[in-house]
């Protein structure tokens, strides 16, 4: 996939912030609690009618299996979000298993400016934010935006020092 030029050197490679796992895990735990309630309800229903109890059990199983695989699909997909910085380029690799596999590659020659944003209490406390690259002719709405970057201001400093080194 990636053929590196002879004088290309890796500066840093890292995954996005662990915050990406929080929302799916929270939803998973919540849905599992609902599943437990559905199992209790199915048990209760079986006391009245065996057939309706069996149907309720089956749909609860189906829901349990669906939620379980949805969760791990999300977790494994989120795990695949990678950021790679080399002396020549910046790469953002993102994939959603079975659905998409994207590589955003920005040559350092094209970068005019880099902006780091940390918004809100959670982002400031946990130390993650968004990186935006000004490659000329793009706006913050359409330009290359990298979300969930750990310590974005430090990354900006690293990239800017790289750009200065290349410029001199």
């Amino acid at each position: 996939m990636s053929i590196t030029s002879p004088n290309e050197r890796l500066i840093d490679s890292f995954g996005t912030h662990w915050m990406k796992y929080v929302t799916p895990t929270f939803v998973y735990v919540l849905l599992m609690l609902i599943i437990v309630l559905l199992f209790v309800f199915s048990q209760f229903l079986t006391g009245y009618s065996h057939a309706s109890g069996a149907v309720a059990y089956f749909f609860t199983f189906a829901l349990l299996v669906g939620i379980h695989h949805w969760y791990f699909h999300r977790i494994l997909s989120e795990y695949m979000m990678d950021i790679v910085v080399t002396t020549k380029r910046f790469m953002f690799l993102r994939c959603n298993l079975f659905l998409s596999d994207d590589t955003h590659e920005i040559s350092l020659d094209r970068i005019l400016a880099v902006e780091a944003k940390k918004r809100g209490i959670i982002q400031n406390i946990l130390g993650y934010g968004t990186l935006w690259f000004d490659t000329g002719g793009t706006s913050t709405d359409k330009g290359p935006i990298i979300p969930l970057v750990p310590h974005p201001h430090r990354r900006v400093r690293e990239i800017m020092s790289l750009l200065r080194t290349q410029g001199s």
């Binding site: 996939m1 990636s2 290309e8 057939a51 059990y57 349990l64 695989h69 790679v84």
Partner: protein
């Protein structure tokens, strides 16, 4: 009449249950294969850049895969246990 309806219902419920479990296991295998494929490509990129994080990434992804398999097997065993009782 009632007994035969009940037998048909039980058989169709059993078949549906087995199909659900098979689909679940097949989905798990397909997801793990896709994960391994994409992960292999990522490792290639990192190796070509001589990253020192390759071994750590491999370890992490193996742990994730094993956790997924164990959880899926627990859910399969749990639902089979409830189904049989």
């Amino acid at each position: 009449m009632n007994a035969s309806v009940s037998a048909v219902a039980t058989t169709s419920f059993t078949i549906s249950f087995i199909i659900l479990q098979l689909v679940s296991l097949l989905f798990m295998i397909a997801l793990l294969l896709q994960f391994a494929l994409i992960h292999g490509r990522r490792i290639e990129v990192l190796q070509s850049l001589q990253s020192h994080k390759v071994a750590y990434r491999c370890f992490e992804s193996r742990i994730l895969g094993i956790v997924y398999v164990i959880f899926t097997l627990i859910i399969t065993a749990f639902s089979t246990f409830i189904f049989l009782h």
